[in-house]
Symmetry: C2
Subunit: 212 residues, 2 copies
DNA sequence: GACTACATACCGACTGGTTGGTATGTTTCA
DNA sequence: TGAAACATACCAACCAGTCGGTATGTAGTC
């Protein structure tokens, strides 16, 4: 009976800082986010911050890694994996990505895509952590794409890897346009074009719309 | 008697600041670029800066507008317009965009795409200037896409506007991945996928130019 | 053509607040 | 008891923005 009912099991300062970093940095950008901003949002002090991170840059790297872990779990649990035909898994991946795009811009955009734009020259450590996050994630679909290519049987002038990265490019670009237009709609339409492309490549009817 | 012959007519402080802003902001990001950075690069003083711009935000807006004018001139002079068939003009646009991607990352990426990621929430004025730059530019291809759709004659489930914006999304996303990977190659491959998509839509062979 | 009145372009020292980071406690818990 | 996990107080550098000033034009007027 004396459970931890009311308190949602407040985790330690490091985890709280990384959690709020995902939200705040997506909203304000990395450079414009001060360490005090993060401490305030996480309800910790500067001493706690520098106990866990040697510098702001190190938090950036840790935030990118934390993002990778968070999204990995999300996609591992996604329902589209159950499709028997790999072509349906590829399209299902896109439908799943599409279903995530809704509400506040900062809720569905990509942390590492945002961060790497700012830090790609000034901080190689953060850039590499962001690169790993994006490129490693692309491997998740790449396997299904490769399987779908075998099913289709054609010998195309492109690789599974390049198409998987194209997926990520379209998503990142869709986020940029959604931010610029302050409206997720343009991102959804871009994903529809990508889905149509994949359907054409794999000789699938373009139908099957939104989610499942 | 010593005339002003040799000097290449050094323009005024405002123009110089906007010119260096295009380079420096793409390299460091907007928030991480200080006014002193810009003044140093432009060879002007802070007094000159605040004579021409009321605030850093106002420079951001002016830089986005300056970017629009610069790129407008570039695309107006581009050679792909000469194609008679609008489908070739659409593909020619993509080939032209592709030809621009080379060398240093900060040399071919997009200023407004970079800026809007950082400022979309904190500065509506900059966000809107960036949105106008991207969305207005998309109109350039949109006209050719619409003409190409008429030539093809099909009634697709998509609009010229949405495809034109998809072009911009792919480009913006390709820039993000090029920055993350520190290599333009991935951007080129993404553009190849986009070109293949367009060729399929317009029933054009995925290869280069004109065959029916 | 010279004098006044005003405008534009630019200079650089200065300010008050913010920043990333440090130095030094205090609490928690194995 | 001792180390890990925090908190408090503080600092030097940096930041956007201010302000008093100069140099150069330029339009109007007598």
């Amino acid at each position: 009976m004396p459970d931890e009912e009311q308190k949602p099991a407040r985790p330690n300062a490091r985890t709280r800082l990384l959690d709020v970093a995902m939200v705040v940095i997506r909203r304000k950008g990395f450079a414009a986010t001060s360490i005090d901003d993060l401490c305030r949002a996480a309800g910790v002090t500067k001493g706690a911050f520098f106990h866990h991170f040697a510098s702001k840059q190190e938090l950036g790297v840790a935030a990118a890694d934390h993002w990778s872990e968070t999204t990995s779990a999300l996609f591992a649990d996604a329902p589209y994996h159950r499709h028997a035909d790999p072509r349906d898994r590829v399209l299902g991946y896109l439908d799943f990505r599409r279903s995530l795009i809704a509400g506040e811009t900062s809720a569905f955009t990509c942390l590492v895509g945002t961060m790497v734009q700012e830090t790609h020259e000034s901080s190689p450590a953060i850039r590499d952590a962001c690169r790993n996050s994006i490129f490693d994630h692309s491997k998740v679909v790449e396997a299904d794409i490769a399987a779908a290519m075998e099913v289709t049987g054609t010998v195309p002038g492109w690789t599974a890897s390049s198409l998987a990265l194209h997926f990520q490019a379209v998503l990142q670009g869709a986020f940029v346009l959604a931010k610029a237009g302050n409206d997720p709609e343009v991102a959804l339409q871009s994903l529809d074009h990508l889905r149509r492309y994949v359907a054409l490549l794999f000789d699938r009817s373009p139908g099957k719309g939104t989610e499942e």
